[in-house]
């Protein structure tokens, strides 16, 4: 059948099972938008192309499917890039389709021309500039295949205007793809699996490090079974949060710069690390030379280039985490580590001593109080989408994952402004779920325009803006390491509740723990639609800083702890 390039785009998106596309039309992509209504695919019109990429990302993280973003050439395409880089760093399957000026004018600096395949070369898993309409269907099929197989990632397809207009004979391409240089399937090396099992068997102080790969592979159940059978405590990366319920007795919480103290100590004292689908990022390891000095490392990852990249490895298995866990379960007999578990209980008791929730007076409102309250009221059953900075670290610490629902945040790139658009995607992927945005006053203003999209799409999003009047994480570093000089970090913000109301979103403000509880309850009431709560939280001192903190250059066990005897206010140095 005869189809234009524009029609082929939608034919193929439908063929790939796409239900929703996030985007915004413009001069070089409007030809593709033209036939959209004939194809029954939902299009979410965002207010800035960056939000399209982040929303597609949030959708992908929650649905497990490929997120699709669409934008015009030039500025539309370049606006996507931060979102594409975010997806690349966190291995999120995206397909981004951009318009391009007509083939005949490429290279002439035409209006709204940008070399988006060149620009996105290092931040995509692969990209295409389609110059022949006869290759379009095949290219889209390949793009979806590449995005979601192996280690997932973003793929960009750049579509010149003339290719969108050109008409050709269209047939859905065969299922198999012809990619001779792409081999996403890994064979498990049984000998390596045997060696890994032996290491685990003989370990006295083992720790499992669960990363994003566990979540992506859908290996939560296998992880829990192995941890329980071998009595191995489980620590996670930021994106591995959610791989095991954080109320499980073997859960240690997150490792890293702002990891849980028991998790950080356990890694430093461990004699074996079973690292699953994670990449030993610098925020995770602290000082690399003194990371886990006593531990043998068994590293499981799909991506061979991650093996030995940062940390020397004793046993490497390049394979899907779930398959490896199944292989280990088949080999592992029951084990117990009484002394090790006792040691971890000591570390836990010590962490409780430093806990801010135990020490601040009942009046002042801190960010941990707010997030703890959201956790209590939602019973841990909300999908939390955290922004970047202090709010993100507190979210990871205080919104204890139930091991089922995803915790959505940007782990690698860390773009402020991620949470609101990503939550739009998350809510669309899970319309019946309770989705909470947790963001700071700085990050929320980076994509605040998407409040319009929330209303337009009728999404019951709950938004918590933790307002401490600062770019909080930078301020914390200035307090600790830059002589308390708060250079350019004090922020002027609008009245967020009034801004929300201007968009027809319920807006509240809370300044005490009581107000906070009430506002969260009201926002969650069954008939409440979208709601935004601005929380005026402690901005400085021991209750305004994220603890623990592993200072730059320090090893994990050298983390700064919250001083034990503190009031909640004032300018405490925090050391």
């Amino acid at each position: 059948m005869k189809r234009s390039g524009a029609q082929i785009v939608w034919e193929m998106l439908r063929h790939e099972g796409v239900e929703v596309v996030f985007g915004m039309p413009g001069g070089s992509i409007m030809t593709t938008y033209h036939p959209l209504q004939d194809y029954g695919i939902r299009h979410v019109l965002i207010r800035h192309e960056l939000a399209a990429a982040h929303a597609a990302d949030g959708y992908a993280r929650v649905s497990g499917r490929v997120g699709v973003a669409m934008a015009t050439s030039g500025p539309g395409a370049t606006n996507l890039t931060t979102g594409i880089a975010t997806a690349m760093m966190d291995s999120i399957p995206l397909v981004c389709i951009t318009g391009q000026v007509a083939s005949s004018t490429i290279g002439s600096d035409a209006f709204q021309e940008s070399d988006i395949t060149g620009i996105t070369l290092p931040i995509t898993k692969h990209n295409y500039l389609v110059t022949d309409v006869d290759e379009l269907a095949e290219t889209i099929h390949e793009a979806f295949y590449i995005a979601q197989t192996g280690r997932p990632g973003p793929v960009l397809i750049d579509l010149p205007k003339d290719v969108q207009c050109a008409v050709t004979d269209f047939a859905v391409p065969e299922d198999r793809v012809d990619l001779p240089g792409y081999h996403p399937d890994c064979m498990i090396d049984d000998a390596a699996l045997d060696r890994a099992a032996e290491r685990i068997e003989s370990a006295k102080r083992p720790v499992i490090l669960a990363g994003h790969g566990v979540v992506r592979a859908g290996a939560r159940e296998e992880l829990r079974l192995l941890a329980e059978r071998m009595e191995m405590p489980v620590a996670t990366t930021l994106l591995g949060k959610g791989s095991l319920s954080e109320t499980h007795p073997l859960s240690l919480g997150m490792v890293g710069m702002h990891g849980a103290a028991p998790a950080n100590h356990a890694v430093q004292e461990a004699d074996l690390l079973l690292a699953l689908g994670m990449r030993f990022d610098d925020r995770f390891t602290g000082c690399l030379e003194r990371f886990a000095p006593h531990a043998a490392v068994v590293h499981v990852d799909l991506d061979v280039s991650e093996i030995g990249k940062n940390v020397p490895v004793d046993v490497a298995i390049v394979a899907d985490v779930r398959d490896v866990l199944k292989g280990l379960l088949a080999r592992a007999s029951k084990a117990s580590h009484v002394a090790w578990i006792e040691r971890i209980e000591v570390l836990r008791a010590d962490a409780k001593e430093h806990e801010v929730l135990e020490h601040t007076d009942s009046e002042s409102l801190t960010a941990p109080h707010v997030i703890d309250e959201i956790w209590r009221q939602t019973g841990g059953k909300a999908i939390v989408v955290a922004d970047v900075g202090q709010n993100q670290m507190w979210s990871s610490q205080y919104y204890r994952s139930d091991g089922v629902r995803p915790f959505v945040t940007s782990g690698g790139l860390g773009p402020m402004g991620f949470a609101l658009p990503a939550a739009i995607g998350a809510q669309i992927a899970a319309p019946d779920a309770e989705v909470w945005v947790i963001a700071g006053d700085g990050g929320f203003q980076m994509n605040i325009q998407e409040l319009a999209t929330v209303v337009q799409e009728d999404l019951p999003l709950k938004m918590a803006v933790l307002n401490n009047g600062f770019l909080g994480m930078v301020r914390q570093w200035q307090e600790f390491f830059f002589d308390h000089r708060y250079e350019s970090t004090r922020l002027l913000s609008p009245d967020f509740a009034r801004v929300a109301r201007a968009y027809d979103i319920a807006g509240e403000r809370a300044g005490t723990q009581k107000e906070s509880e009430d506002a969260i309850r009201a926002a969650r009431s069954p008939k409440a639609g979208p709601a935004l709560i601005e929380f005026a939280v402690t901005s400085e001192g021991d209750a305004g800083n994220v603890y623990p903190m592993v200072p730059p250059g320090a090893a994990l066990h050298e983390m700064m702890r919250r001083p034990i005897a503190v009031g909640s206010k004032g300018q405490g140095a925090g050391r």
Binding site: T117, G118, L121, P122, K125, H126, L129, I146, L179, P180, G181, Y182, D303, V304, S305, I307, G308, K309
Partner: protein, 168 residues
Amino acid sequence: MMRTLVSLVEDKPGTLNRVVSLFRRRAFNIESLTVGHTERPGVSRMTIVVDSARTDSRKVEQNLQKLVNVLSVEDVTDHAAVLRDLAVIKVRTAEGTRSEIMQVVSTFRGRIIDVGLETLVVEATGPDEEIDRLVEILRPFGILEMVRTGRVAMVRGDVMEANNKKAR
């Protein structure tokens, strides 16, 4: 130590850019890179030389392998392989030096491919160390211009690069 990687890549627009962009992005130092056609249409062959003191050649290999347009990568350093570099060198000649230069060139099994009034153009192929020596010997005569292709490599005998076979 210099390590030599041989990579077969799809001959598509932008493939070389992808490879080079990867080296830049990962801060890999490359000593030389050659690219050219192979016996198969649509497939190009790259020879990449890496100084392992500065860049971990295994990381280069692993990361190259991830590029969709890269069909295969193999480190041939530890194989018996023929390694060749081609140099074209324009040397200044003066009274009495012309025959001396020609003698040197023939010792290195090079050829004189152009003769000017005060210049000779020399062509030489061989392992890169041999070309290095020729260059050193010619330098005192005055090298006016030089171009070298960089190393190309091929494993000796009936053995083809394992990946080469797989990629067929």
